[in-house]
């Protein structure tokens, strides 16, 4: 048991699985000698060598394309795309092949590959380095879309993703990479993909979030309790797609109110699907309209306006209080 930040926890997941299974290899830009621009693959090159930790040419489609081939051959490639803003270069490979080869070969092949990529705002980054476009991947049949929210679940989910027989795109909230530490067990730990988690119990309003947004949401929970006596129930999706709505629906049946929080642009974003599921499955339990606290439908601004763009604790508090009005 050690106190690790998310970067270290992700590193641990890969290191341990690579020690155990030599089908697991890493490939990407600067993942080897440099250890990754965020150091997530730090020292893996030293331990496993260039055959297993491959610095590739600068070509995202190439990285994922060859990883698909490796996965079909029986390996477990873990690709890094340096920023999710550059993951659109791989979209055709993921949609047309990673997500379909099981079906196209009618079960003969599977594509157990993982694409890790840092996403999200809050780090005063350059253009294309702050986006949250998980909805693109979540809307793609045959792909799994996972986003952890803390060191411990990041490690456990990444391990599960590597072992999963299907392709997983794994968005890492870069704002949380070094934001805090958690106890992470030394022995391996997995978490099932596809299962949201109850992050905090409450009876008044259900708040659904994931990734870096769990941070302001949990802060809002404290503030709501302390200042307003409001107890929110917080659900951490962890797997965005395929979306298991059981826990959310059960929670809203209890609270009758809901707020969805994400950094992604609002329209056609993940929040819409949560709302749709609740309309379909908990309509008669809803007391007031579900609220969305999200990014705006605009180009992500540079650092000076980033704080104004991002959902934050106050916006969550405000939305929760609104669902309690009426």
């Amino acid at each position: 048991m050690a106190k690790l930040n998310m970067v270290q926890a992700l590193n641990l997941a890969m290191k341990q699985e690579m020690e155990k299974n030599d089908n697991v290899v890493i490939l990407g830009e600067d993942v080897g000698v440099d250890g990754g621009v965020f150091r997530v693959t730090d020292k893996l090159f030293d331990q496993f060598g260039e055959k297993r930790v491959m610095d590739t040419p600068l070509a995202e489609s190439g990285i994922v394309g060859v990883a698909i081939g490796m996965a079909v051959y029986g390996m477990r490639p873990v690709c890094e795309i340096q920023f999710s803003g550059f993951s659109y270069y791989i979209f055709h490979q993921l949609e047309a092949h990673a997500a379909r080869l099981r079906h196209r070969s009618q079960g003969r092949y599977q594509v157990p590959l993982v694409v890790r990529t840092p996403y999200g705002g809050g780090v005063r980054a350059l253009e294309h380095h702050s986006e949250s476009r998980e909805a693109y991947f979540a809307h793609t049949p045959g792909l799994k879309m996972v986003i952890p929210s803390g060191p411990r679940n990041a490690r456990a989910l990444l391990l599960s993703a590597i072992r999963d027989p299907d392709p997983v795109i794994f968005f890492e909230p870069k704002a949380l990479y070094r934001a805090f530490r958690e106890e992470v067990p030394d022995e391996e730990e997995t978490m099932p993909l596809g299962v949201p988690q109850l992050a905090r119990e409450g009876k008044d309003v259900t708040v659904v979030a994931y990734g870096a947004m769990m941070f302001p949401v949990m802060e809002a929970a404290d503030e709501l309790q302390e200042k307003h006596g409001v107890e929110i129930e917080v659900i951490d999706l962890l797997t965005i797609s395929p979306l298991d709505d059981e826990l959310i629906v059960a929670s809203v049946k209890k609270t009758g109110r809901a707020v969805v929080v994400h950094e992604a642009p609002r329209s056609f974003g993940p929040g819409a699907e949560i709302m749709a599921r609740l309309v379909e499955k908990a309509f008669y339990y809803l007391e007031t309209p579900i609220k969305r606290v999200t990014g705006y439908d605009i180009v992500f601004p540079l650092a000076a306006r980033e704080t104004a763009y991002m959902p934050n604790t106050q916006k969550v508090v405000g939305a929760v209080l609104q669902t309690l009005e009426s």
Binding site: G65, V72, D244
Partner: protein, 368 residues
Amino acid sequence: MPRKEIELPYRIEYLSILDADGNVDKELEPDMPDDLLLKLFKAMLAGRRFDERMLHLQRQGRIGTFPPIKGQEASQLGAVAALEAADWMVPAFRETLAEIWRGKPMENFLLYYAGYDEGSKVEDDRNDLPISVPVGSQMLHAVGIAMAMKYKAQPQVAMTFFGDGATSEGDFHEALNFAGVFQAPVVFVCQNNQWAISIPRAKQTHSKTLAQKAVAHDIPGIQVDGNDVLAVYSAAREAVERARKGDGPTLIECFTYRMSLHTTADDPKKYRSEEEVKEWEKRDPISRFAAYLKTKKLLTDEAVEKLEAEIAKEVQDVVDQAEQLMKEEVDPADMFHHIFAELPPTLVEQREEMLRDSSLGKKEVDHG
């Protein structure tokens, strides 16, 4: 402080062994056992006949759109004939004959083009990928497979096919570049059939040959007469050996011709002349190979006739069998198979919703 030419490590060559009349260049003639030669001939002929039959079935509405292969038999077969069974083949979508040579049941083509997903099943004993429709995207998979072979120190090679049009896609170059950097045991076989639907080769790229695109990545490239099965086989064997020895990738450009339609939805009269097609008919890969085999006394007119009869029966059996399979009950809910290893809750629900759907019955599986 000079202005001087830089020496590049590879030169681009052109290879031709058997001319359009079946005359062979004795110095270049590959050493091939008689039974392999005959097997290749039979496969080429069967490929041509099966293709004709598919076109007929399509015109009758018994199967849907498909891409004919007429004219490209030598270029497909010459290449795959250089592979071992344990090697891997990664096709585009016009490698019907290469896939048949590798063991794909002919009836699967009929199933597939009649709209049954079952038709693209890959059998357990065949190391090939199913066809890939998005142009240019599959070469990278072959490179990845080859990198995995190298990683696992397997004495295997991956071969991938693609058209002249595919060389314009960025993924083609990414594949060559990765193959070069990782010295992957992969053979790139370009079926330059002169057309990408209506776009002639000259408008596809300003470059004189497609083979020279290998220069960009410092890998060997060669252009061969793609209607000459001996040349294709020789170049492929050389490339496969190079790869197997650990000496890295090769790009082979087979200079051939799509004698038929792009697909059955296409009308080539809109964009190319009858004369051009006639010119290429004179360079047919099958007749010149037959002439060569006859000169070698490996084939007679009677033997060809016998072969034709055998093939006709074989093709008819395949058609009968496929149509039988299509008549069997096909559960529409099978479309939920093979999406994930395990069906997640949302898909379980959607599948149930579909089964409940009153508008749906066996009739909804739409036969051909």
